[in-house]
């Protein structure tokens, strides 16, 4: 039976957007942990560790996110021996994926701190740990915020792919709504509008952060 597309459908789509945001948040947490590890590896004085980090980034970034989703969706059950829900598969895949990109971004931010900062703080007698804690990392974090917020936007858009493995977020809800209302144009325009409402403010925020950063340098 075909229903008319109505406000109720918009309501359900908005509800599904919660799952988009939830998945984004968890992916960001998971990816953040991985990213921190990768960033540290990349700036390590030990060459093999640096290569490990670089290899991870290259491999993860060289494979489509869809492929990662499917590999974990079909591969995790084999490794873990149990059937894996779309949640877990999506979480792992997104964390691996986001970790590579965040690691690369954060590595760049750490390396952007001029050597003079290291030299100046060392000349003041600070230990390596103190240098990191009081001088280097605070500055790196400031530099890192705009591109990280920018990547958050990418992450929100990327969660749409979780629909393909059956995860019911905004895009999947759109597909389901379409299959009952048969109004693809309307449905997907509304879906796009909701994504836009989530992403655009973040994009603008990232830009204003970057401007503030540039002015104060």
């Amino acid at each position: 039976m075909i229903r008319e597309f109505s406000l109720v459908d918009i309501y359900y789509l908005l509800l599904a957007a919660r799952w988009t945001l939830a998945l984004t948040g968890l992916a960001f947490l998971g990816g953040g942990l991985v990213g921190l590890l990768i960033a540290v590896l990349r700036v390590s004085p030990v060459a093999p560790l640096r290569a490990l980090g670089a290899g991870y980034i290259s491999i993860v970034q060289g494979i489509p996110l869809l492929a990662w989703l499917f590999v974990f969706f079909f591969g995790l059950p084999i490794l873990a021996g149990v059937r894996v829900s779309p949640w877990i598969a999506a979480m792992v895949a997104f964390s691996i994926y986001a970790g590579a990109f965040l690691g690369d971004i954060w590595r760049g931010c750490l390396q952007a701190i001029p050597r003079q900062q290291w030299e100046a703080s060392a000349s003041l007698g600070l230990s390596f740990a103190d240098q990191l804690r009081y001088i280097i990392v605070p500055q790196a974090v400031r530099v890192a915020i705009p591109p990280t917020v920018g990547f958050l936007v990418q992450l929100i858009k990327n969660t749409s792919l979780a629909a393909v493995i059956g995860f019911v977020e905004l895009t999947r809800e759109g597909q389901l709504t379409n299959s009952t209302t048969y109004r693809p144009f309307t449905v997907y325009i509304v879906v796009a509008a909701i994504y836009f409402a989530m992403c655009f403010p973040l994009t603008q925020w990232s830009r204003s952060l970057e401007r503030t950063l540039r002015v104060s340098r």
Partner: protein, 220 residues
């Protein structure tokens, strides 16, 4: 229960995989050219155009970059028919991919255009060159040189993103993977193999771009 990995069945399907690679490469090549053209025009419009041109272009860039490619694809393939425009999967894929890439290339090239020092442009005008001639000979070439790394990175990302068109059953590499999956029931193996093929394609593409840079930007 131990899972018996079986990759042999996958290798037996290599003709289908090769076809998929062909389609993916075709999609990538056409999208790259279209994206470059849209980007050059869009960037020029945003930098040199009047507000009646700049505003719609800004809207285009913001809308495309703040919505997922998958949804854009669905709008074009599933949505347009209800407005009377019926497209086959490959055409819809090319349109969606090009429109998407165009928004990114517009911004990348725009940054390049704005990076060319103003006195270069004034020198061009002062020699009697017209606006179009200044753009073509003085601005565009240095701008592309500056943004070449960012541009080619975006192209590689786009090649990987073509996997999305499998969701409207366009016969690309990723779609072939799902077909092979239904034939052999080797889920994990097929997607692992496909992942490695994409990785190889990405690497080859990066090498090609590096080689092109050597040739195109060489001093003659």
């Amino acid at each position: 229960m131990r899972y018996a990995f079986n990759f042999r069945d996958i290798w037996a399907q290599w003709p289908a995989i090769a076809e998929g690679i062909g389609v993916t490469l075709m999609l990538t090549a056409v999208t790259m050219l279209a994206g470059l053209a849209i980007g050059a025009l869009g960037a020029a419009g945003r930098v040199y155009g009047r507000s009646w041109l700049r505003t719609p272009l800004a809207a285009y860039v913001e809308v495309v970059r703040n919505t997922p490619l998958l949804v854009q694809l669905f709008i074009i393939f599933f949505g347009l028919p209800s407005l009377g425009v019926r497209l086959d999967a490959v055409t819809a894929a090319l349109i969606a991919l090009s429109v998407n890439l165009g928004a990114y290339t517009t911004e990348i090239i725009r940054a390049g255009l704005e990076a060319v020092p103003r006195s270069q442009i004034e020198a061009g005008y002062s020699l009697g060159l017209s606006g179009v001639q200044v753009f073509r000979h003085v601005v565009l070439s240095p701008a592309i040189r500056i943004v070449y790394p960012a541009l080619t990175s975006q192209f590689v990302l786009m090649m990987l993103a073509t996997s999305i068109v499998s969701q409207i059953s366009a016969p690309d590499l990723f779609h072939i993977a799902s077909i092979i999956q239904s034939r052999t029931f080797r889920d994990f193996e097929i997607y692992t193999v496909i992942a490695m093929v994409y990785l190889a394609l990405a690497l080859i593409l990066k090498l090609l771009f590096a080689a092109t840079a050597q040739i195109a930007f060489a001093r003659r």
